[in-house]
């Protein structure tokens, strides 16, 4: 599954980790719309039906709430379902089952409910208001759920394996913008990575940029640009939103004394608000500047390119925010 130059895409990484986990554990199975005979809307599960058979690669009717509940029942019986929402936007149809059946079951009963919900999410594909949403804030608020949002092929593979082996419900947010745009030299390790460990992906000294998923690549681009101006940016990829590795974030900000938080979700009560609040509580006496958020405008995601670009944070916006925080 590597390209001619030996590179593995983000999408291939998801496919490879799924295959590895299904091969390793017969209790792991997939279900969702068009995942079987069609191989999934993004072809993540292409060939899986032939390889694993219809019992483990289950095409469902269009019934997000129904198949989420099905996954919950199967998980209670000891299976480890991996549910694909064709687009993360459609997870709203399963909101009740996730909140009331899945998320709080362990707290109410002590019974584990290990389910991975694969959620292709995010914008920049001109897909419009109901195919471009970031959904993390709805769910990060709910006790009992974990949220993972990898930015690189290696993290996509390792964190998917880690999520499947976790005994809790995990929303695995895969960036459909990064699917074919980000590559890494193969072969990738298929070892599961622990959830809740952030990573400093670019060390720096003047200002910390805290971000995740597609924001990591935008942040690295901005950091490279600012390096030419002599501004050293440390980029922290949080990788897991819940549980959040606050220690890595705090130690970065204590070092640089300045922080910018970046994400593609809307600004108001976006996950950046939580990160900024934590930084304020933990690092107040180290800060030389208020924490600044760079996020989407508080509108739905429009379709037409000039409109979508105007709503979403652009690399120039990130550079500007970092420069201001670094130099003030």
């Amino acid at each position: 599954m590597q390209t001619k130059d030996g590179q593995v895409t983000y999408l291939d990484a998801v496919t490879q980790a799924l295959r590895a986990e299904m091969t390793a554990d017969p209790d792991v199975f997939l279900l969702g719309e068009d995942v079987g005979q069609f191989g999934g809307a993004f072809k993540v599960t292409k060939g899986f039906l032939d390889e694993f058979g219809p019992m483990r690669v289950v095409d469902t009717p269009i019934a997000e709430s129904g198949f989420t509940g099905l996954a919950a029942g199967a998980a209670l019986m000891g299976l480890r379902p991996v549910v694909e929402f064709q687009f993360a936007d459609f997870i709203s149809c399963a909101f009740d089952q996730i909140i009331n059946v899945v998320a709080r079951h362990h707290y109410r009963t002590g019974n584990a409910m290990p389910i991975v919900f694969r959620c292709p999410f995010g914008a920049r594909l001109r897909a419009g208001p109901t195919h471009s949403q970031s959904i993390e804030s709805y769910f990060a608020h709910v006790p009992g759920l974990k949220l993972v949002a990898p930015a690189t092929p290696q993290d996509a593979a390792g964190l998917l394996a880690g999520s499947i082996r976790d005994n809790n419900p995990v929303l695995y947010l895969e960036s459909k913008y990064l699917y074919r745009r980000v590559k890494a030299p193969g072969p990738l390790s298929m070892d599961p990575m622990p959830l809740g460990v952030a990573k400093v992906v670019r060390p720096g000294t003047r200002v910390s940029l805290i971000t995740y998923s597609a924001g990591v690549h935008q942040g690295l681009e901005a950091a490279a640009e600012l390096d030419n101006e002599g501004i050293s940016v440390e980029v922290v990829d949080v990788r897991t939103l819940v549980p959040l590795d606050l220690e890595t974030i705090v130690s970065s900000v204590r070092k640089t004394s300045r922080a910018v938080v970046l994400h593609e979700d809307t600004r108001r009560l976006g996950y950046g608000a939580e990160i900024a609040a934590e930084i304020q509580e933990e690092c107040f006496w180290s800060l030389d500047h208020p924490v600044v958020r760079v996020a989407a405008k508080d509108t739905p995601i429009p379709t037409s390119p000039p409109l979508e670009d105007a709503v979403l944070p652009q690399t120039a916006d990130v550079i500007q925010a970092l420069r201001k925080v670094a130099m003030t």
Binding site: F29, M55, V58, T60, P61, A63, S65, G66, F67, T68, G69, L70, A71, A72, G73, A74, A75, L76, M77, G78, L79, P81, D96, Q97, N100, V101, R104, H105, H106, Y107, R108, T109, G110, N111, A112, M113, P114, P143, G144, K146, N167, N168
Partner: protein
Amino acid sequence: MPNQLVADLADQLWEAGRARAPIEPLTDRHPELEVDDGYAIQTRNIERRVAAGAHIRGRKIGLTSRAMQELLGVTEPDYGVLLDDMFVEDGDEIPLETMVQPRVEAEMAFILDQDLTGPGVTTANALAAIAGVLPAIEIVDSRVAGWRIKLADTVADNASSGKVVVGGMYRQGEMLGSVYTGHWHEAIAIGTVAALRPSDFLAPLHRDLGAHLWRGTEPRQVIASFLGKATGPTGGRDGTLHYGRLDLNIYNPPSHIPDNYPVATGAAFAFRYRGQDGVALAYCGDGSTSRGDFHEALNNAAVMQLPCIFVVENNQYSYSTPLKLTTASADLASKAAAYGMPGERVDGIDVLAVHHATMRAVTRARAGDGPSLIEAVTMRMHGHAEHDPADYVPRDMLAEWAKRDPVEKFAATLAGLGVLGEEGAKTIKEEVHQVALNAREQALADPLPDPSIVEEGVYAD
């Protein structure tokens, strides 16, 4: 009055109550008896009962109205003590031989959520302590012959107290949240669960107490759940009938019925995944059939041919909404046709009819012939929960259904077969009542959960 005389008169009243042999009025023999002497005698006998294990649960105040005071020629109320052994559950029988010369009086009961300790209790203090007011029935009794009492007599006789009914644990504010009963659902819960193996998956709703008990949930745990005790199946994290025990293959459903329907499809899926012939049975009500999860679960189960039995307990009302505002379908069982599965409508009062229909569905499911829908028709005989007087239900409708008690019907069937006589049925009823009383006693004594671990268990290890 000398202490010795107080003691003697207290003994006489005590003995009169024990022997059910009323005595002449104390004031006939001791005209000098004052009201204060009466309270001294009352206190002596109350202390005796407390020493023997009774607990003080409240106080009673009598003669509060001008008319009653004038009738007895007094200018003050009289006070007595309510002990826990005087409280009778709503619906309980009181054997006549435990009383001396009982009379019934209508009373008002003020439920206090904090103690009022004098001196210096103001009206404002009292108002602040009142959590609620309930209609109550007092069964007064007198150890004085012919009720020929003067004020000092009745005071000495604990204000002529006997028994009191304040409407059960829920009415007395001991239960958390609401109380949902399953009257006229008994045959559905038992008729269905008895058709399953213990290893089959059960996804109940809040009318299915019988199914829980059949599977082995302890009555004490049921009461403990309502009381928020640590010994409840969820340790106080969930309450009322929101419990389940996976070790008994019972799912703990959320309030959002029929969320348990899709969950049951998942359990059925897991049985087939593992090559086992287990089945999953889920219940919902007539109201739930309007929700998307009902449709999605039935459709998914039918498309995947999952071993599921979907039971709709049609009790005519979803909270206050009558069936005709829930569906335009002639019945609910016919909805099965839209999904391509068999649907059957049965008399939910008839435990054998329910059982046979469930057996047919279970047989199909085990054989790999897919899911079934069963509509069991009954009536919700109480409010949606006990806070709801259900005055929207036509009284004649309730009266008609009241003639069809599922438990009595089954007892009559067994009597007709010569399996169980009237005596036997009565014995079972008494045993069950005792089980419930014991469960209540245990659960009341059980500890509350430890708040220091409230943040634990949000996530599994």
